[in-house]
């Protein structure tokens, strides 16, 4: 399990604080670079199949980033569900399709940056700009909920056991959302099968 491995590595390195910080940062930025680079490849790739496999890399890199955000359970879940479920689903979806469909699907129309490129770029950049602008304009040290959390010691540390806490909270505090999501999941599955069912008048 890569997440587990990452968690152990982190924990080991806590002993050597100073060294560890530098290493931690290097790893973080490598992951960041991988995530962003692969994501860019996913987005810009001309070939769908490469795009999908590169998305696989992205998901892993992002899972690594979760670990750095002290969410090792989430990172695990990400790998299990996304990489194991979603991505496999994607691959299966068009590996199981007919040859024609595969050709059509994998055929990415030329003019990658054509047509709506400019507004898209602009809008994306605008979003990005807006978000960064916001991040840089917020004084995170003095935000109420952060300062109050720091004051009350409600800040996670690397050594905290999160999985237990998550389990308790799921079964107590977030029980209702959990149940609702399970119902939603079931509806989605039923809906998916309903849609995927072959219609008599299908093309």
């Amino acid at each position: 399990m890569p997440g587990m491995r990452a968690g152990k590595t982190v924990r080991k390195r806590l002993k050597f604080r100073k060294e560890k910080d530098v290493v931690e940062q290097i790893i973080f930025y490598i992951l960041t670079a991988i995530a962003i680079g692969s994501a860019a490849y996913v987005v810009l790739s001309q070939q769908l199949i490469r795009s999908v496999f590169m998305f696989f890399v992205t998901l892993f890199a992002v899972a690594g980033l979760y670990v750095f955000a002290l969410a090792d359970f989430v990172a695990l879940t990400q790998i299990v569900i996304y990489v194991g479920g979603v991505l496999v689903l994607l691959l299966f979806a068009f590996l199981l399709s007919s040859k024609d469909a595969l050709d059509t699907i994998s055929e990415i129309p030329s003019g990658l940056l054509s047509a709506n490129r400019l507004p898209a770029v602009l809008i994306s950049l605008a979003f990005f700009g807006l978000l960064t602008y916001t991040f840089f304009n917020i004084d995170f040290q003095n935000l109420n909920w952060i300062t109050s959390a720091q004051a009350s010691g409600n800040v996670k540390s690397v050594t905290d056991d999160t999985i237990r806490n998550i389990g308790v909270n799921l079964m107590s505090r977030y029980l209702l959302p959990l149940e609702m999501i399970s119902i939603l999941l079931m509806m989605a599955l039923i809906g998916a099968t309903q849609i995927a069912r072959k219609e008599p008048k299908a093309l």
Binding site: F68, A69, V74, L90, I123, F140, A192
Partner: protein, 101 residues
């Protein structure tokens, strides 16, 4: 410790890339991946903020929820895409004119 802003910035980049994919891609599957990228970016933010909620662990729990829902939505979306392909022989969302005003 990695500062919060770094996570947020990475999230912003991923989100923007996902957005870009959603807007420009002619392939529904790529769009779907774009959406997933955006979802991942938001999860990253959730998780990063969740650092300051040790007791309730809201950030992580909602990150989990999102992952689950995203998986469900991907399943449904793929089914829709395959169905769409069956109807129109294309998965370019722009070629579907039924929404046209």
């Amino acid at each position: 410790m990695i500062p919060l802003q770094h996570f947020l910035l990475i999230g912003a980049v991923l989100f923007s890339l996902g957005l870009f994919a959603v807007i420009t891609r002619k392939n529904a599957i790529q769009i779907l991946m774009g959406i997933e990228l955006m979802i991942n970016a938001s999860i990253l933010n959730m998780v990063a903020f969740g650092k300051y909620d040790k007791i309730d662990n809201t950030g992580q729990i909602f990150g989990l929820f999102i992952i689950i829902l995203a998986a469900a939505s991907v399943a449904v979306a793929l089914v829709i895409i395959m169905n769409l392909y069956k109807r129109t022989q294309t998965i370019d969302p722009n070629q579907t004119k039924s929404l046209r005003g």
